[in-house]
Amino acid sequence: MLVMFDCVKRAGLAVLAGVTVMTAAVNTASARDIGNVTMFGADTAFILPHGAMFIGGTLSDPRGGVAGNDMDGDIAFGAGFLSPTDSIGLEVDVNITGTDPMFDSGALTFKASRALSLQPNSAIFGSVAVSNVAAWGDAKLADERWNATISGMTQIVGPSITHPIMWTVGYGSDAVLRTPGRSLVDSGVFAGVGIGVNKYFGVSVSGTENQMNAGIGISIPGLDGVGISYGVNDITDHMERRQQLLSITFTKLNVFKGY
């Protein structure tokens, strides 16, 4: 079991031997469950750490949020490089948007992130991302997209569980639908907030200037690194683009090391 202690920064390794003696007491005093926080429908500034990789799949219904369309499927995978707490972290993702035939359309996403503030009970990160880069297939018909995002974490301490709260605010190209019933987009603001309700379940709401999204995140006991999310974009159908999305992701830390 992993146990953590606060130590004075420059105390050095000499402190470690003494601290380990206190392990048993800490185990009984401070272990708590932590809620499974999630964010649906809005990007955040948090990125994969160096050496971590993820793969995920999304089913969306209907395609593009257009009523009457069939379901659609996307696949994405990516890796993290460097550290946003030491310098600037970078994440590179591959989006496969064409799955019939497989891989006939897709693009890259690059996101750079930096820890702006790290305090004991809050953390704030900032990021800049550009997506639809080096697109191929039908994805090539669209321009590159970008966004700048600030995201933070804080918490509510409940009687038996700590509920982490994640928030995000950003501005991006192509972030806001222009008119109801069309798929044309403009640049604009997006934002969201999520809370970990219990150890395996979290809820979130997000939105742009004219639509609201809501979703849940689920983790499965015994399946480390697996995350499931379900949500609805444009949940009020204000922009006539209501769309259900079901995603499954697997994140693996320390797949590779060294620079």
């Binding site: 202690f5 050496g51 018909l141 982490p164």
Partner: protein, 97 residues
Amino acid sequence: MMKNIVRFSAVVALSLAAVSPAFAGGSSVVNSTGTATSSQLASSGVVTAAFSGAVVVAPGAPAGINFQSAFVEFYGFNPGEPTTASAPDAVTLSFAE
């Protein structure tokens, strides 16, 4: 001029995608929030992974998550080196029992 042509082509393509399921273009292309699907997926995984092992903290400390500790450890900060982020004077070290 080229930019306008490309943008016009994209608009036409997206409009076709909106009315014709046969015209390919996934939900990441016609994304109603415009943000990157992969980035959302990764962010969700990041946060889950970052806190799946984060157990709190020092004897006598207020109950809760130490975010500074969780993120610094998650991103591989070396406790022997000062962080360039705005960390407080105390850092958290980890030990396997």
